[in-house]
């Protein structure tokens, strides 16, 4: 019982206090705010520790499953190796840790992201068809924007202005609508969490 009630009380008190604090520029309120910021950073750092524990537990469990064991073994070995070189020899410039990051992780991640270009090209070729009014509008818009983001498009008189208009008017209008919706959703969810109506974050 207390396991659920204590976090709820902490969230309620902190939520209400921090909301009030925002509107009170008094030194006492300011110093409470600074303390809260330090705590926030401490809690955020602990999130990394939890992430590491969760990662190790998850992959250790998967080691027992023959179909997943190889990938989990690679993940755990890479993790242990980086921990050993990081804690053992430091993470600064020129260390093994930094070299592994720059020469292994960076190219791997950049390559994975770059592969999207190939999938997009293939998908555009097969799926971008003038099948109806909406599809035609989408196609024309995509064509103008794609042309607008090329260097060559810059030198065709109306393309840069049209691209800018598409981004700054129709795109902006739809984004703003979504953002207002998201903002209202965030306010209502925050209130529900502070008041203890929304309790999913407690788990279970």
């Amino acid at each position: 019982m207390l396991q659920r009630r204590i976090p709820l009380v902490i969230v309620f008190i902190t939520g209400v206090l921090m909301s009030i604090q925002y509107f009170i520029p008094h030194p006492v309120s300011q110093s409470a705010y600074n303390i809260a910021l330090t705590w926030f950073r401490g809690v955020a750092s602990m999130a990394y520790a939890i992430a590491v524990i969760s990662f190790v537990r998850h992959h250790s469990r998967r080691l027992k499953q023959p179909q997943n064991s190889f990938y989990s073994a690679v993940a755990l070995a890479a993790f242990l190796f980086m921990c050993i070189v990081g804690f053992g020899f430091g993470i600064g410039e020129g260390t093994i840790f930094a070299k592994m990051y720059l020469n292994v992780q960076v190219p791997l991640q950049a390559t994975t992201f770059s592969l999207l270009a190939f999938y997009m090209a293939s998908a555009a070729y097969r799926a971008f068809r003038v099948k109806g009014l909406e599809a035609t509008l989408l196609l024309i818009t995509a064509f103008i924007v794609m042309f607008g983001v090329t260097t060559i498009g810059n030198y065709i008189p109306f393309i840069p202005k049209l691209t800018e208009w598409l981004m700054a008017v129709p795109n902006l209008a739809s984004k703003r609508g979504i953002l207002i919706g998201v903002g209202l959703g965030m306010i209502s969810t925050s209130l529900k969490i502070i008041l203890g109506i929304e309790r999913n974050w407690l788990g279970g």
Binding site: L108, A117, F128, V149, T151
Partner: protein, 284 residues
């Protein structure tokens, strides 16, 4: 002709991949060096930095990791060099643990090509955990968030940090990112401390940030490889004008050449695909 178009629209995926591979790699090997024209959102950031008095401070937050490196890293390097060329002091930091090593490399490049000196011409604070708490904390006192820089030097003893306490002493914050981090800077640094913020983001996420440009919450924005190339092109021009003979590689301009040809090829694919679609429809 109709049969040929239908056949072409059903071409195997590997040929599309091969064509795109050639369209992307050939311009990197034989760069056509298309001249760049600055778009309005890039121009706003460029002119803002260009007109800052020497000695002003600009906070460059490398909020990205390796996955978006090809697009965002050239932006970071170009803006950093622009600051140094204009005597503006860049303060490097990151909200991403992976960002520190990547950003540090950009500062090393500025040392090599512009003779920038650590702690005098630039400051590198590195990474601090806490995300929103870091952004808010800088608004109160930067020394509470970063008591030491990345190299372990106490902030108080860094000459370039003299007189820098919070956002009031920082002319502009630029968040370099492949996600929504620049919005976090708007929410916490702009709304609470009225700090001027700009964004340098990937092309795929750029559309999300236009509402913030229209409201003036962002001073400007560098979007994708195009934004990076435009900024890099302008900075290289300044370097040439100042008689700097050894120039760093023009990664973004080269990348943009490949990007442009890649885009044109995709557009051609779409046209061919549609011609095939109509040919098949007519046959039915």
């Amino acid at each position: 002709m109709r049969d040929f178009l239908i056949k072409l629209s059903k071409i195997e995926r590997r040929y599309i991949y091969l064509a795109l591979f050639l369209a992307l790699t050939l311009p990197l090997i034989f760069p056509p060096n298309f001249p760049q024209k600055m778009s309005p959102t890039v121009k706003s950031v460029f002119e803002f930095i260009d007109t800052l008095p020497p000695g002003s401070h600009v906070l460059l937050s490398a909020d990205y990791d390796a996955s978006v490196l090809p697009e965002v890293d050239p932006m970071y390097r170009a803006v950093l060099k622009h600051c140094i060329l204009r005597g503006v002091i860049p303060i490097g930091m990151t909200l991403y643990p992976q960002g520190a090593v990547l950003a540090l490399d950009a500062f090393k490049e500025a040392e090599e090509y512009l003779g920038a000196r650590r702690d005098t011409d630039y400051v590198f604070l590195g990474y601090q955990a806490g995300f929103q708490a870091v952004i808010l904390g800088i608004g109160e006192n930067i020394k509470n968030v970063f008591p030491k820089d990345y190299f372990g030097t106490p902030i108080d003893s860094i000459p370039a940090m003299r007189g820098v306490n919070n956002y009031k002493d920082i002319a502009l914050v630029i968040s370099f990112s492949g996600s929504s981090v620049p919005v976090t800077w708007v929410i916490y640094a702009y709304s609470k401390y009225h700090q001027k913020v700009a964004a340098a983001v990937t092309a795929v996420s750029a559309a999300d940030f236009y509402p913030y440009i229209q409201t003036g919450q962002f001073v400007g924005m560098l979007a994708g490889m195009k934004g990076a190339a435009e900024y890099e092109y302008a900075v290289r021009k300044i370097m040439k004008d100042e008689g700097i003979e050894k120039l760093p590689p023009a990664k973004a301009v080269k990348g943009m050449d490949a990007n442009s040809i890649g885009h044109l090829l995709i557009m051609l694919f779409i046209i061919i695909g549609n011609l095939g679609y109509f040919a098949a429809k007519r046959r039915k």
